[in-house]
């Protein structure tokens, strides 16, 4: 259990954030300059807050009142940086075992396990200079894990990778999330990554915590849109693959409230996936349409109408216990006479159902 309360003023920027993170992945999410990196640096001890308290599992790492400031090497916090920061003069294996030089290494069993988990076996004798971006990040993650950390910090670990490498590393991160039992703080400004990985989202905005909640909650809230940067708006849905149609490359995903058809779903039957449906990809009809190219027609009720700027309305549609969001013009909303409680059909283009993370943000 990580508990953080930090305050720091730097010029005009004021950071005053507090949150707690338990097991699983806590995403520190927000737009560039929101103070995400400052918070993780304070946790790692590379940035000293003006005031605050940082505790993990009952151990105090920083306390301005009691004048406690545990130095970075003694904090036992694994840190994966955006640019990997592998040591260029050491081989991959030496990088992985680096913490062992300072009696922070893990037993051989864990070493083999993590090498296996991250697929590093064939890289061990290589030097970092010749690795691809994705391979570098995997080694960096392994190196941090092998330092026997109490907490793992990942600061935009995918930001410098192209879309293909991103999804490669993301798959490994998913795997880790389910395997290791230490809390992870994941910094990102990419909606897709957060949606796919996070158990809890801490939304930072201008140095303050704007909201805490599940990915579904935070991404769905229209009032947080300027802080999340998800101007498009949308809904995050937890689903499970129930059918893969090889002939048309279509997958059927079951969620609480119905089924969706999607292309490009790189997952096995039975595997859980999270998908994000952008509000602009959802249209509304009052009757079930026929002869239409759209594959997904879901019956639901209008839950809420929130008018936005520029003549648009975001409509929340309840389908079972799932909330979908649709963006329509104010004109259409009036013509259709949309009001809370109305029965409507949500039309979702199948192609818009990319698995979160496999498309660039």
């Amino acid at each position: 259990m990580l508990s953080v309360r930090v305050e720091r003023t730097l010029g005009k920027f004021r950071l005053a954030a507090s949150f707690q993170a338990g097991e699983g992945v806590t995403a520190l999410f927000g737009r560039s300059g929101a103070g995400k990196t400052s918070v993780v640096n304070a946790i790692a001890g590379t940035l000293r807050p003006d005031r605050g308290l940082i505790e993990i599992d009952g151990t105090t790492l920083f306390d301005s009142e009691r004048r406690i400031d545990v130095p970075t090497p003694k904090r036992r916090i694994g840190y994966v940086f955006q640019e990997g920061r592998l040591f260029p003069h050491l081989s991959v294996a030496q990088n992985l075992r680096y913490a062992g030089l300072f009696s922070r290494g893990m037993p051989a069993k864990s070493f083999d396990h993590i090498v296996e988990l991250l697929g590093l076996k064939d890289l061990l004798d290589r030097r970092p200079g010749n690795l691809s971006g994705g391979e570098k990040q995997r080694v960096a993650i392994g190196r941090a894990l092998l330092s026997d950390p109490r907490l793992l910090l990942l600061d935009e670990p995918l930001a410098s990778l192209d879309a293909h490498r991103k999804s490669e590393v993301l798959r490994y991160l998913e795997l880790l999330r389910d395997e290791i039992r230490i809390p992870v703080v994941y910094v990102s400004h990419a909606v897709e990554e957060v949606v796919q990985l996070a158990d809890t989202v801490v939304l930072l905005s201008a140095g303050e915590v704007a909201a805490v909640g599940s990915a579904e909650e935070i991404m769905g809230r229209p009032d947080l849109r300027s802080a999340t940067g998800t101007f498009e708006g949308g809904a995050v849905i937890d689903a499970k693959v129930v059918k893969q149609d090889m002939q048309y490359d279509l997958a059927t995903l079951a969620f609480d409230g119905g089924e969706l058809t999607a292309t490009n779903v790189d997952a096995l039957i039975g595997e859980p996936v999270r998908v994000r449906i952008r509000a602009r990809d959802v249209s509304i009809a009052l009757e079930r349409p026929r002869s239409i190219s759209i594959q997904n027609v879901l019956a639901g009720t209008v839950a809420e109408l929130s008018p936005g700027q520029g003549g648009i309305v975001d409509v929340s549609i309840a389908i079972g216990s799932t909330i979908l969001r649709s963006r329509v013009t104010q004109l259409s909303a009036r013509e259709l006479g949309l009001a809370p409680g109305m029965n409507v059909y949500a039309l979702v283009k199948a192609v818009s159902l990319n698995r979160a993370g496999s498309s660039p943000a």
């Binding site: 130095p71 090497p73 940086f81 920061r85 010749n130």
Partner: protein
């Protein structure tokens, strides 16, 4: 004054005297580099990574031998390290070490003259080490000394090699401070430049001076070549590339 052997030495082999001069020069240069290297690395690290009041003055003092006339350095050494000098007397009394008019004194003079060059090269190379790597090392448990010896120093290795070579070359060429401090004693302090100088002062010594000068040229070329190879290899290593081919 000691007389060198006369006659016509073979052009392809070294005479006994020449061998002696060469060996002495190499020994003096080797020890001057070896002993000054740890100090130079420490001073370079302090200059590259610390800020303290008086740093500018410290920096200037370190660079002094570069701008002072070598004779002046030799003279100061004589005052300090002579048998009756404050440091020389202590060294003699406590450790039985005498540097005045010994080859060890020649090494001391050479080390001091080469020191600024060494510090400069190492400092530049330490300043070029990515501090973010050092921060990463500290999150993995490395304290300040750990970071220095496992990250900073290995990554600064090309600069350390360059610095050592510059100082080595400077030691081989050292003349003014050496002759002032430890004089020109054959077999003890008569290094290559001193021997060349002696021949130029000897009637019909020009041929011998030329032979020794050519020897100095060869020595410098070999040293330059070796350092180039070493620096290149180290730099490739620092870039984190896999070794290409054997070696």
């Amino acid at each position: 004054m000691h007389e060198f052997a006369r006659g016509n030495p073979s052009p392809m082999s070294l005479t006994q005297e020449e061998l002696e001069v060469l060996q002495l020069s190499l020994r003096v240069a080797f020890w001057s580099v070896l002993v000054s290297l740890p100090f130079a690395i420490a001073v370079a690290q302090v200059l590259a990574r610390s800020n303290f009041p008086g740093k500018t003055i410290f920096d200037a003092v370190v660079h002094l031998p570069l701008v002072l006339p070598p004779v002046v350095v030799g003279f100061f050494l004589l005052l300090l390290f002579g048998r009756r000098g404050p440091i020389g007397a202590l060294l003699d009394e406590w450790f039985g070490i005498v540097v005045a008019f010994r080859w060890t004194g020649a090494a001391l003079a050479a080390g001091i003259m080469g020191f600024p060059l060494m510090v400069r090269a190492i400092r530049l190379s330490i300043e070029a080490v990515d501090r973010r790597l050092e921060a990463a090392a500290s999150t993995l448990g490395a304290g300040r000394a750990g970071v220095f010896f496992t990250i900073t120093l290995p990554l600064a290795l090309p600069g350390v090699i360059t610095g050592a070579l510059l100082s080595f070359a400077r030691s081989i060429g050292e003349f003014g401070a050496t002759i002032t401090f430890v004089s020109n004693i054959p077999g003890e302090t008569r290094t290559l430049p001193l021997a060349i100088y002696t021949y130029t002062q000897t009637p019909s010594g020009d041929a011998m001076a030329m032979r020794l000068s050519l020897l100095a040229v060869v020595l410098s070329l070999v040293a330059l070549y070796l350092s180039e190879v070493l620096v290149r290899r180290a730099a490739r290593r620092m870039r984190g590339e896999d070794a290409v081919g054997p070696g």
